[in-house]
């Protein structure tokens, strides 16, 4: 009964979504309050049913009901409980159900907490949200139904892909989906604004929290996915420019641009049309990501199943929503009133520059990801566009962007003073130059670009600190006054400083890891010692162990430095009988923010084993950076105050400082 109840709940959610996507629109046209309010109750009921459906699927996985095809194909009675639960979204059908559950969750949140929205805007937003939801309910029910049954259930399931049997699966997909799907709200708001034919600064204030939430989760989701790939796939890389990774990076870049342009819109009532376009593009890229991953166009860890019917269906959804919303944009955008004006050198101008670079970066990733696919479809040639392409196109776009980041917050609204901003950044510039000089002296003869890149990162971090120092009047005013001003500073200002510093921190990690990474790859026998970056790693021995649903070969290394023993590391190789697959479990030893990384290869007949040992200096900064960015986003989100961008008057006396 659990399975059928879950199935029926999903069908009811579809029926409710269909009503939600039409009735409120009619109500908004006619100005009928009751009809508009239907959006709210149906959105909440939809959340209830979809949530129930998802919870019931989880229950089915937990009790290992193999009469459900989805459970049979992706579960195993011996799997630990946590993987029985995470396995729910470790497969195509279940992950699509998670996708719509989160869609319904966001719809429900707008319904529950959207009291400050005008009724007709809320009705429009929820109706658009229901369009998207209806399309995906249909997709799930007709092409990827997780509740299909087997009349004569087998006694044991086929188990989950072993690579996915990891705690990462509990965190990475839900986070990423919260990000992807969260952008559906800004999409719905944009389409609602186009349907209503009006948009203003208030709109940006209403969308802001949703965009921020989505961006925070997407940031964390991508970082988490990268860390997971780093320790699970066993060769120490953290970003592969794999199309699936790019599929998540594109909405992130567009979403970051959206976040910034929405600030201009909320504070200055400018860039309105552009913000609407970015909202549409961001969610379109999320949909594109879903299409790339789910249609089977790409084969990777993420492509759980490939079925042409699904691909065609998603492609259809993609065309309808992206094509439809862009047509609507083309048709209605001209009717939206243009907003405020500003000088090229101003905070607005800086944010436009940021948007230009981010969208250009997004476009390069887009081309690099889709060009090989398009070429294969058109000519049948298979080419692969890899790291060299992205390093050559992405990096040159990011360097000027990073250079510009510290200037932005120091410029005044409407008309700014570039020279003044540069003066205030002198300290940051000096810090960067010192960093470059020190690194150059220290790593003489090494990589030339690395110290420069780190100098750039230091500049970004110091620039973020300068911004805070300027706002609080640190070093200019007495300490007590500065402290009081720091307390009074809006949390959004702290947030943007943290987020910008996060970018610099991540850059330091990336540069250090790629430049000063040392590795040792060899076949080792027991009692042999490997020396990597000043550490001595002795292979103590190899042993076998039985896990719940796998057998494991564990190698034990004792690590020491300068003769002092540090710790024991135990990398292992697991082989899973049911699927006949094996995974490598890398062992990590964290020293500060650097890591030692050991992963095992094949065992040789003479008792030796192939090992890969890496020393990765400052590697953890790569993920601390995004965490810092997300923390900044969180600070900004917690700032419930309204945002006002006070313009710098044309003929004012010297303003006290950059205005918030």
């Amino acid at each position: 009964m659990i399975a059928e109840t879950g199935h029926y709940a999903l069908v009811l959610a579809l029926a409710l979504a269909l009503i939600q996507s039409t009735v409120p629109l009619v109500g908004a046209r006619r100005g009928d309050v009751a009809l508009m309010n239907v959006a709210r109750s149906t959105a909440l009921a939809q959340l209830l049913f979809t949530g129930a459906s998802f919870a019931l699927l989880v229950a089915l996985h937990v009790i290992s009901d193999f009469s459900v095809v989805n459970v049979f194909e992706n579960s195993h009675s011996l799997k630990p409980l946590i993987y029985k639960i995470t396995g729910v979204w470790g497969n195509h059908e279940g992950s699509m159900l998670l996708w719509v559950s989160i869609l319904a969750l966001f719809g429900g949140l707008v319904a529950a907490f959207g009291n400050n929205l005008p009724l007709s805007l809320r009705a429009h937003v929820l109706a658009v949200q229901a369009w998207v939801a209806s399309a995906f309910y249909l997709f799930i029910l007709f092409t990827s139904n997780p509740f299909l049954r087997i009349a004569n259930p087998p006694i044991e399931g086929r188990d989950l892909n072993p690579v996915l049997q990891d705690i990462g699966l509990a965190v990475h997909p839900p986070m990423l989906y919260l990000g992807y799907v969260g952008f559906s709200i800004s999409f719905s708001f944009a389409v609602a604004a186009l349907l209503e034919g009006r948009i203003d600064a208030a709109w940006a204030r209403w969308v802001r929290p949703w965009t921020l939430v989505a961006w925070i989760f997407l940031t964390l989701g991508i970082a988490m996915g990268s860390y997971w790939a780093y320790y699970e796939l066993g060769w120490g890389g953290w970003w592969f420019w794999d199309p699936v990774e790019n599929a998540s990076l594109m909405p992130w870049l567009a979403g970051t641009a959206l976040l910034h342009s929405a600030v201009v819109m909320e504070k200055r009532n400018a860039l309105k049309v552009w913000t609407v376009l970015l909202s549409i593009l961001t969610f379109s890229l999320s949909l594109l990501g879903t299409f790339l991953v789910r249609s089977g166009v790409l084969t990777s860890v993420h492509a759980f199943a490939t079925d042409p019917a699904r691909g065609v269906f998603i492609l259809l959804i993609l065309c309808i929503f992206i094509g439809g919303s862009l047509s609507l944009y083309a048709w209605r955008a001209s009717s939206l009133k243009q907003g405020g004006l500003f000088a090229p050198i101003s905070r607005e101008g800086a944010l436009v520059l940021n948007n230009l670079f981010l969208t250009a970066a997004c476009a390069t990733v887009f081309i690099g990801t889709l060009y090989p696919l398009a070429l294969e479809v058109l000519t049948g040639d298979k080419i692969s566009v890899g790291a060299p392409f992205f390093n050559l196109t992405f990096a040159p776009l990011f360097v000027p962007l990073m250079l510009a980041v510290p200037f932005g917050p120091l410029l005044a609204w409407k008309r700014g003073d570039l020279y003044g901003a540069a003066q205030r950044l002198t300290a940051a510039g000096i810090a960067a130059l010192v960093a470059i000089a020190v690194l150059w002296a220290w790593t003489r003869g090494g990589a030339t670009l690395a110290p420069l890149a780190i100098g750039l990162a230091v500049f970004v971090i110091a620039g973020a600190l300068t911004d805070l120092a300027e706002r609080t009047g640190l070093f200019r005013l007495p300490l007590a006054v500065s402290f009081r001003r720091a307390q009074g500073l809006p949390r959004s200002a702290w947030g943007s400083a943290f987020a910008h510093a996060g970018v610099g921190v991540a850059l330091i990690g990336v540069v250090c890891e790629t430049t000063w990474n040392s590795e040792y790859i060899a076949t080792m026998k027991p009692d042999q010692v490997a020396k990597v970056a000043g550490y001595e790693l002795k292979l103590d021995g190899i042993s076998q162990r039985q896990g719940p649903n796998f057998r494991e070969m564990i190698a034990q290394f004792s690590v020491s430095r300068d003769g002092r023993p540090l710790q024991v590391m135990t990398p292992s190789k697991r082989s899973f009988t049911t699927r006949g697959m094996s995974t490598t479990e890398a062992a990590l030893l964290t020293r500060g923010v650097s890591q030692l990384y050991i992963s095992l290869g094949e065992a040789s007949a003479d008792g030796g084993i192939a090992v890969r040992i890496y020393h990765k200096p400052l590697v953890l900064l790569i993920w601390f950076g995004p965490v810092l960015m997300a923390f900044g986003g969180l600070l900004s989100l917690s700032d419930r105050r309204l945002r006002v961008g006070a313009p710098k008057p044309a003929k004012a006396a010297r303003a006290l400082q950059a205005a918030e």
């Binding site: 579809l14 009751a34 049954r149 600064a201 809006p490 039985q546 009988t577 961008g645």
Partner: protein
């Protein structure tokens, strides 16, 4: 609780969600408005000014801007009066009351399986009964062994079943475990070798041969090991060796050994290709075969030879035999294919290439 009763309750809840806002009398304009956002922004400017975050002139400029937006928003609000439309509400109610349940049932019935009860694992009997398909029993034993991998007896029971089911790779692993945990014996080694051979599609690989040799070392009279060692020799092209191994087997075996006919067949097979002096029994066996059986036998041998050469192409004699066999069977295309394969395989070795070309010329195929 009855399934349909649950469905009915859920449907009622869904319908209610649509009807509730429609039925409410006091549906007042309760949403927020743009004007309120701008009023809050104005208040925010005052707070920022008081906190010293912005200067007085800037605050004034901002107030002017926001004031303009506030006026525009207030204008727009007046444009949109609320108009109740009872007719449309009635239509929406009917859609919810009739359309929603109908749509739900119409979508669910073709997709769902309402007649099927749940089958949680815990509730299902773990005892084997005769009606259970073999696959389920095997899965149960495998699950048991997954938890108790050191149960040698379990592996010994499971391994032959796996081999019979055609899961040769699993059978190989099962026999290995049986040997590790249940003790070594010539029978188990020979069975492991047999599984390895089956997994390789009938070719006695080096790995399999090593197992048979180990078995034969433990028990020189192990029939299975000896038979396969003979087969390995035959596949290596050492037909004389094969014949002598099998002949020794027959000589030592009791008259009623069940594998006698098999070995006799094998011997006759060797006899067909190299025509050594055949024992009477073998001749009799070969004579007893009808035309189809013999053809099938020959084809099987040729295929095995081709597979072996694909793995190891150094054997010039083997290639020549293959080409000859194809020509005898009247398959000229395959013979030509084998010829070019052979040239490729020995292309690195001038001595062998010369030998091959000589041989091919003798066969009358264009050299």
């Amino acid at each position: 609780m009855n399934l349909w009763f649950v469905f009915a309750l859920m449907t009622v809840a869904a319908v209610f969600a649509v009807l509730w806002p429609l039925g409410r009398r006091s549906a007042l304009q309760s949403g927020g408005s743009e004007a309120s956002v701008y009023r809050d922004q104005l208040a925010e400017i005052d707070r920022d000014l008081a906190g010293g975050l912005i200067g007085a002139t800037e605050a004034e400029a901002a107030r002017v801007e926001i004031g303009r937006r506030l006026l525009a928003a207030a204008d727009q609000q007046r444009d949109m009066p609320a108009q109740p439309s009872p007719g449309l509400r009635r239509v929406a109610s009917i859609v919810a009351l009739v359309g929603l349940p109908l749509a739900a049932v119409a979508i669910y019935l073709p997709l769902g399986s309402p007649g099927l009860a749940d089958f949680p694992l815990a509730a299902r009997s773990r005892t084997a009964d005769a009606t259970q398909p073999l696959d389920n029993l095997v899965a149960q034993v495998e699950a048991h062994l997954e938890k108790n991998p050191t149960d040698g007896r379990g592996w010994t029971v499971l391994a032959p079943v796996l081999a019979r089911l055609g899961r040769y790779d699993d059978a190989v692993r099962a026999w290995r475990n049986a040997i590790t945990y249940g003790g070594d014996s010539s029978e188990r080694r020979a069975d492991l070798g047999e599984a390895l051979t089956a997994a390789a599609g009938g070719v006695v690989t080096t790995e399999a041969k090593a197992e048979f040799e180990r078995a034969a070392a433990m028990n020189a009279d192990d029939a299975k090991a000896n038979y396969f060692l003979g087969l390995a020799a035959e596949q290596d092209g050492r037909t004389d060796d094969a014949a002598s191994i099998w002949k020794t087997m027959l000589a030592k075996a009791p008259a009623d050994a069940p594998w006698r006919p098999l070995v006799q067949d094998a011997l006759s097979r060797v006899g067909v290709t190299v025509a050594p002096a055949l024992s009477n029994e073998t001749m009799a066996a070969a004579k007893d075969m009808n035309e189809t059986d013999r053809n099938a036998m020959i084809r099987g041998m040729v295929d095995r030879l081709a597979t072996r050469l694909k793995q190891n192409g150094d054997d010039v004699e083997g290639w020549l035999r293959l080409v000859r066999a194809y020509m005898v069977m009247g398959e000229r295309d395959k013979a030509l294919g084998a010829q070019s394969d052979a040239r490729q395989a020995v292309a690195n070795n001038a001595e062998r290439l010369k030998q091959l070309n000589e041989g091919l010329k003798n066969l009358g195929l264009d050299g």
